[in-house]
């Protein structure tokens, strides 16, 4: 496996794991407080929708000329990665509330209990909340799988890394029977933001006609460079601004 393929697999695994942890919290909340079979039906429907999106867009993307593909994919990854990194820096600096799965679980469970008694057979509320949670979190993963995978013509490898991450989170959730509050989500999001921005920058520049010194080996300088810049920004911000208490919405990047 080449360095770029390892980077692809690692980025997709981390991004997918962190989104799966968030989706698991939502499904656990509606499953335990409302109706497990309806919640799992919502999960199944969302997974089918996500598979359909990847199956439909994957071949379309991989059929583009490599130069065009790299500009599009690089640009999208860079925009997406910078958004992740921006939020991760603000969280690390204490200017944005960190993800707290236990708090989100409590809020979702409270909202689910507040909607009244559930019907005996099919609970539309549990289905809808589980479907929405998995679809929204999964869309980001599908986007990353498609862009990373298509660019290197390794959609299969990217999908495998995503599947492994989901299975790992499901196994951990089944073992813990609780939200995975101890997963270092904020650190993982920081890492994903660095990887997406780095690969986006690398492919975007190549697609636009630039040549990196050292070719693929330039990634060995780009990734640590982006990490260093992001850590420096978080450190500078945390020393210059007072922490802000902000309650984030339950579903957020």
């Amino acid at each position: 496996m080449s360095g770029a393929e390892i980077g692809l697999a690692l980025s997709v695994f981390l991004a997918c794991a962190v989104e799966a942890v968030e989706a698991l919290t939502i499904v656990l909340a509606v499953g335990t407080t409302r109706n497990w079979s309806s919640a799992m039906s919502g999960v199944g429907a969302a997974v089918l929708a996500l598979i359909a999106i990847v199956a439909a867009l994957g071949p379309a993307l991989t059929s583009l000329p490599i130069g065009v593909l790299r500009v599009i994919v690089g640009g999208l990854l860079l925009v997406f990665g910078l958004q992740w990194l921006r939020k991760a820096i603000l969280r690390a600096a204490g200017l944005k509330a960190k993800h707290d799965e236990l708090r989100i679980y409590a809020e979702e469970a409270e909202a689910a209990r507040g909607t009244g008694a559930q019907p005996a057979a099919f609970d539309g509320y549990a289905f809808a909340i589980a479907f929405k949670g998995v679809l929204l979190e999964g869309l980001e993963v599908a986007f990353i799988v498609l862009t990373f995978g298509a660019n290197q013509h390794r959609v299969g490898l990217a999908a495998a890394a995503a599947g492994l991450a989901v299975l790992s989170v499901i196994a951990a959730g089944a073992a813990a029977r609780a939200p995975l509050a101890r997963v270092p989500e904020n650190t993982m999001k920081f890492a994903v933001g660095v990887m997406l921005s780095s690969f986006g920058m690398f492919w975007g520049a190549e697609g636009a006609g630039a040549t990196w010194p050292g070719g693929d080996a330039a990634l060995l300088a780009i990734v640590p460079g982006v990490l260093l810049v992001a850590v420096a920004m978080a450190w500078t911000l945390s020393r210059s601004a007072p922490p802000v208490i902000e309650v984030p919405p339950a579903v957020e990047v």
Binding site: G75, V79, F80, S197, A208, A210, A230
Partner: protein, 65 residues
Amino acid sequence: MRAALLAIWEFVVGDDWRIATGVALALALTALVASAGVSAWWVLPLAVVGLLALSVKRAARHASR
């Protein structure tokens, strides 16, 4: 249709549209410099550092209010 387009916009562009605009301009500048036969790999790293710094600074100022 409008809702779908808005959702895609929100999904890709996110909280700060300036980042997306800046990335698009930086890619165009990279292509321009490269087509002139000049080394252009440095454009995106500079743009990324600048865009990220400005966006984070703006968000921090907003959060401190």
